[in-house]
Symmetry: C3
Subunit: 352 residues, 3 copies
């Protein structure tokens, strides 16, 4: 693979940035301040890395006007260097580009509609009634179930499973191993035995959604499971049947959201969070890592559960004390009463 190559001037133009330095400087990639070499562009977004400004060997930097004053080298100056880095990152992505067309080994149902500008990978299987729009790339070993639809310009990494009746918007990215539309965990009990409930709903996914590796999103039991526009789901997340997630909510890895729970817009759910079923979380909620959300949240803000990490020996003491807490609280209350008696009673007895 030969690296792509841009001049600093080209990059300034793309970003609408103020260029300081050599417009014809060649840039072949991006790197951190510490690791960048003379042909690489770097950026300062986190103030804690400001100390590296004086030492960086980067060919040029993405900088705010303020930071640019304390740096002497070539720079692209703009308001949000991190966002600029995000934009430019795609120029240097080494991910192979798929060409339009259908790999000869793909098994495609006769009535599936695949746009000529889509790319279908080796050994993929596409079932009856599927519709795949222009610009979609379906990786090797993908399975697209009956009547599912993938909107324009989506990317399915190799080995993604969509069950039947999964409708996906435009520009959706799904990483390898994700399973969309699996049968949710629905059972009725009859004399101690679980009777399966068929999962007859589908999954509806908006535009610009990202779904991480080995994440699972179950189909609805009656109606659809729904993922809003711009939602970003990290790896190994479990979304149960009939969950609804609002637009632009982001969720980090290993979260588990139980059935029929509704999460609002622009929420940020950190890694390992669990939510019970049938609750509602309003817009603009931030949940910290590994929190167990056991009830609805109706006020925006940050929420947490759990205890802080301690050295194990200290932690054992804390844990033992937590078990005694109810007892401790009762003893405290009794003491308060006794102390009140002593104070007043003491006064009384001294007066008696």
């Amino acid at each position: 693979m030969t690296s792509p190559m841009f001049t600093l001037g080209e990059l300034a133009e793309r970003l609408g940035a103020t260029l300081r330095g050599a417009a014809d400087r060649s840039i072949s990639g991006l790197a951190s301040l510490e690791e960048a070499g003379p042909q690489q562009l770097s950026f300062l977004a986190n103030p804690k890395y400001r100390k590296f400004l004086s030492e960086t060997r980067a060919g040029a930097l993405l900088l705010t006007p303020d930071d640019a004053e304390s740096y002497g080298g070539d720079a692209l100056i703009l308001a949000d260097p991190y966002l600029a880095y995000a934009r430019l990152s795609h120029l240097f992505d080494p991910k192979p580009k798929a060409s339009p067309g259908i790999h000869p080994t793909a098994v495609i149902a006769g009535d599936a509609v695949v746009d000529d500008r889509a790319s279908i990978g080796a050994y993929s299987v596409i079932e009856s009634g599927v519709r795949i729009e222009a610009g979609v790339v379906v990786g090797a070993h993908c399975f697209i179930g009956a009547r599912s639809r993938i909107g324009a310009d989506g990317w399915l990494a190799p080995r993604v499973t969509l069950y039947h009746d999964v409708r996906i918007g435009k520009r959706v990215v799904i990483q390898s191993g994700a399973v969309i539309g699996g049968e949710g965990f629905g059972f009725a009990k009859e004399k101690g035995v679980w009777i399966k409930i068929a999962q007859n709903g589908g999954v509806l996914i908006g535009d610009d959604v990202e779904i991480g590796a080995n994440t699972t999103i179950d189909r609805g039991a009656l109606a659809d499971t729904r993922i809003g526009n711009g939602v970003k789901l990290d790896n190994q997340i479990m979304i149960a049947h009939n969950v609804q997630i609002g637009d632009h909510t982001a969720m980090a890895g290993c979260c588990g959201i139980s059935g029929s729970t509704q999460i609002g817009q622009r929420c940020m759910i950190a890694g390992g969070v669990g939510m019970v079923g049938h609750i509602e979380v309003c817009d603009d909620v931030f949940v910290t890592g590994m929190t167990m959300v056991t009830r609805s949240i109706s006020q925006p803000g940050a929420y947490s559960s759990g205890t802080a990490m301690q050295p194990a020996a200290e932690w054992k003491k804390s844990v033992a004390r937590i078990r005694q807490l109810d007892d401790l609280a009762r003893r405290l209350q009794q003491m308060e009463k006794r102390l009140a008696t002593v104070t007043s009673g003491g006064d009384g007895s001294s007066e008696a």
Copy 2:
């Protein structure tokens, strides 16, 4: 896909329900009270939805005799509407039905035995000595390792991996991405280096088991990992080597069960629960979400760990206090002693 169509009379007969209303009413599907239309059947199982009875546009309802009295429309009346819904749900499942037969792209070892009434999907790979019984559906991209067996009427969604020597009972459902029989995490240490222990056992799975998407069940180290009859495992569960799970136990998503742990019958393990290895959990135990089970449980009942969710600012205070708990408890004890001294000493001094 054209929807299946039944008359209300047919459904009453299937269920053995008392029919009230038009026996010839057409029913093409199931929906919630809120969303159902005139051709759909709905049900009331959760009392909190009783308020929707007066507004529902459903063609008919599954109702208990009591609830039927407060509803004027067509109804199928029976003891357990939720169970009835579970039963009927399969009539309206839009999941494509596989036809018996072997897809021409399947790679099947010469000595594997596949019943004529089984269905083997595209690009599946079936190794030596496998036996697949009548009515089994193996989805596309499945891998069935050497000598594994799948009992009658099972369903493997696309892309399920069974390693070698996995024996599965009748009517078992395995969702996409599940891995059964992977090599457990067994290592001996030699001078700071981990030496792998070959995992020579298999996996034994009973009848009527359900295994969720991306769930993993490791093979045993010496003997088999064992999953009992009627066990229901949700998505993204991790069952380590030599775990045993008793009949009719249900486990929600994202649980992790460590090696050689034994779980009894009819347990209900909520989402995100972790269990350490080599413990025993008796029958009829309920473990709440995200609990860490660190010791054996010998009494039926409900068990929990963790702390309640709080707004993050309050939570930080709680967390800081938990770290101080041992100190707080000691101070409480000292105060009790001092208070006892004060009380008796105060009396004494007042008498002196």
Copy 3:
């Protein structure tokens, strides 16, 4: 499958063990003390199983010199029976051995280099620029992305995904469903909308690494995600972009490690542990199950968070009390003050 067969003498020689008993005794497998029969070898490693020594029907035992004194039957005597068991376990592994060669259904790019002594499974897809060394086994349905490399004698179970630019050392084992090199969770925010950051780094994995079923290791954003030599990762672990894990660290199932976190050498991370991003954990740290690691650890030792499991009724009280903890602590402090006043004031008033 016919079992392999060894004489006790052959096994003694392999292990350098002292043989006591019949050198020509046939051994066809390994089993626990309780389950072993006359043709099976067993071992005593955990003192709690010593009670089974008198009853075992095993043909012979792996024993320390001390334990051998209290056992009358045939034995292989050596310092570390568990390590000896690990060594011998591979002799009896029923896992089918793959033969070198490329399955005719494999799709391999013209410029990929596959050693003649490697084995490539059915329906695997190997992209441009890949290099696969001697003795590697690539299972069915694997996908090896562009320019990735697999060192000698590795084993990829069926259905493993390597994205592009993943470099793997020698003797690496990857279980089914693992995804290496997925795109990390990197987004910049622009007016409330998440903008994706291309993930341009790769993944670098050392020698003798084991990666469990459905574990995901994301590629780096700029530089590589790095997994050291001898690292053992269990199932369903999530390693985010730019994480670094030191040599011989072991991590049990369901852990989640956030972006750019660095873990030292010889650490042991129990199941379900979560770590926040951008922290450093030093060498020789042990983290107990389901701990949330929220800050860097600079001292070797054991660390924990969470609370102990309780019966749910007691737990509810503890949880309620934890919410009151800040209040309890304040009341305790007030009482201490009042008690001090009472004690001194009481003395004063009695003197007055």
